[in-house]
Symmetry: none
Subunit: 209 residues, 4 copies
Amino acid sequence: MKKDWEELKKEKQQIIFDSALKILKEKGFHRARIADIAQEAGISYGLVYHYFKNKEDLLNEILDQWWAKLYQLLEEIKKSEKNLNGRLKGLILYFLDTYQRKPDLIHIFITQISRSTTILTETRLDNFRKFFNLVEDILVQGQKSKKLRQDVDSRYLVYIFLGGLETFLSIMVLGNESLTSDRQKEKIADSLLEVFLNGAGAGKSARRT
Amino acid sequence: MKKDWEELKKEKQQIIFDSALKILKEKGFHRARIADIAQEAGISYGLVYHYFKNKEDLLNEILDQWWAKLYQLLEEIKKSEKNLNGRLKGLILYFLDTYQRKPDLIHIFITQISRSTTILTETRLDNFRKFFNLVEDILVQGQKSKKLRQDVDSRYLVYIFLGGLETFLSIMVLGNESLTSDRQKEKIADSLLEVFLNGAGAGKSARRT
Amino acid sequence: MKKDWEELKKEKQQIIFDSALKILKEKGFHRARIADIAQEAGISYGLVYHYFKNKEDLLNEILDQWWAKLYQLLEEIKKSEKNLNGRLKGLILYFLDTYQRKPDLIHIFITQISRSTTILTETRLDNFRKFFNLVEDILVQGQKSKKLRQDVDSRYLVYIFLGGLETFLSIMVLGNESLTSDRQKEKIADSLLEVFLNGAGAGKSARRT
Amino acid sequence: MKKDWEELKKEKQQIIFDSALKILKEKGFHRARIADIAQEAGISYGLVYHYFKNKEDLLNEILDQWWAKLYQLLEEIKKSEKNLNGRLKGLILYFLDTYQRKPDLIHIFITQISRSTTILTETRLDNFRKFFNLVEDILVQGQKSKKLRQDVDSRYLVYIFLGGLETFLSIMVLGNESLTSDRQKEKIADSLLEVFLNGAGAGKSARRT
DNA sequence: TATGAATGAGGGTTCATTCAT
DNA sequence: AATGAATGAACCCTCATTCAT
């Protein structure tokens, strides 16, 4: 019986979560009103405070959930047998899949979290650092296995890789583009990887002079 | 005489501008108070309304100024005799120079403008589209002159190029890093270009398989 | 069986009572939350409403209990064979004993009840009037038996006597002082009585000129 | 001109002060709403925040003003040539005068400040201690000049003296009694002093056995 | 041009109370 | 008897904006 309660509580939390996601996407953190979120969730606004300490806390829980999943994925990637190409593609597809399933979440990540220093407390910045470090680990392994050039600081490679990915997502997010077929995701992932690995330059002459 | 007045007005506006820049950087658009900006500028908050219609208008003017300068640069680049490499490097250095001279401006561009949909009205999104289009023009020219590969959508190339640049700037901005020497800027620009053009992959085998 | 139920109910009520006492002392009536009291009592806050109609009612019950005991004591004193001195000392010691056993109760009496007009409804004021009247009865008897001077309004004597007592208690309450030995209580009671009866003046000359 | 501004500001503050006084008296700190105070003052509630940081601050300013005046009086009394009797009478009359002119202030002192530990921060308790110490100074001088008995702790004398005074004030405050004639004030002061100095006991036998 | 007093919409948060389980 | 989810009135405080001076 107790379990049912727990589950019900979790479910309700999730409803509030999803409502918050939608409202945050539409209005941004500062303009999102608790009343909006509650209305979206079909509950009274007082109840939001039953499940979350306050607005700040609600955002934090969303972020924590986001980061937890992302870290989990990266750890899995690191443990996997995939080669560099497969690993990076896995990461890209994770973002694209998430965008497909929960576009609001990616929207918020792109527009609110990944940049806004207003919201960025030191704790939250730490999450970013950890994320960048995990990606760097993967790229350093790539350098060691001679899959990636070693004459460029691994940190720079991280910036360029994630930068390209983020801009892709940004464009989709800001343009409200939909992502329907798996084929489309594959194509995007491959293009990104292709240019990241082989460069935008045309042919040998452009690439190595 | 009239000119003096005009000039004085411009000067005062600029003072408010710079103050706004600083406060916006520190607090973000929603938490930045007119009173803060006025205090920073050393004037009464009522006076701000003599020079700007309202808070929204103040932000718009800042953005307009930013975009105007950026468009101007891009037009100059397009008209210049430089080759693709020089053009892209010029663009990168423009951002780095601006970061050096007015870090607040880049900070706001990165954290507030480039992503926030809260602030992004349709009009403002147009500025982005125009910016991306101008950069795309340059890259398409590169493709036509066989400097850039033609098997990738020029749009994708824009995303990857600007994405890498933006992430570099983001890192500096979020980390409050300083940029002192010209040499440092050169190195960053070259690294970015090198990877963008030739890819992160190591040697032929990695790049073309 | 019914008795057991009644008793259990009384017991539970008493637990809530004591918890309320503690919380009221710590936070005062307005800041004391039902949830605090329930937590202190180790029960859910909903249950409080099974035993008390509402917050107001809970406070009323506490007050009623307090006044009932005090009235009972005063009636006993009036019926007793003690002389004036013994009667007044009995009253003082009652307060000191109560402070020793239930400091929270005296704390609340001093800080919340005896003065606060916020809480003082007309009904509650009546309790005060009754208390003052009962003490006045004792002092009037003292005047009749020539133990107390008759040239001062008996009402004034009440104010001075209770005022001194209350300030003593206030000091202990506000200073969180502890009262351990019976000797200490005796000393306080004697000092109070001594000054009340014989004045603070030094010798005849000061007292009767 | 500037002076006029300053004065106007002070005046407005005073209006808010007085309104606050009235509302605080009627409702007590926790139930007093800023909106009430503003309405009483005939201004919008937002303006209250122009003059005072918040509700807490408003209360603090009232308290500070109260204590400042009281301390000033006590210092004057200490410096004066009056004898003990005159000094104590001066103190009593100050309270009675204030009650006559600003009954709300005395009301708040009695019901909110002098007891409520809810409102009593450590800083505010310090004011009490200072007040008690200043009165003790006067009484110790009385002991030294043989006007007061030395066989009772001077601290106790303070409690008894101020206790009587406070209870008098309390009765007036809680009963909403008016104090019109100077004669009435004189009579009260004399009675208080008479009993404080010579005791409530009747004749020698009662007083010295 | 310049000031800052004045306004009030807006939104976060608390918490007593009810009620289904 | 017992729980705690659910509700919403109440109230504090912020701050953009206006306007008299």
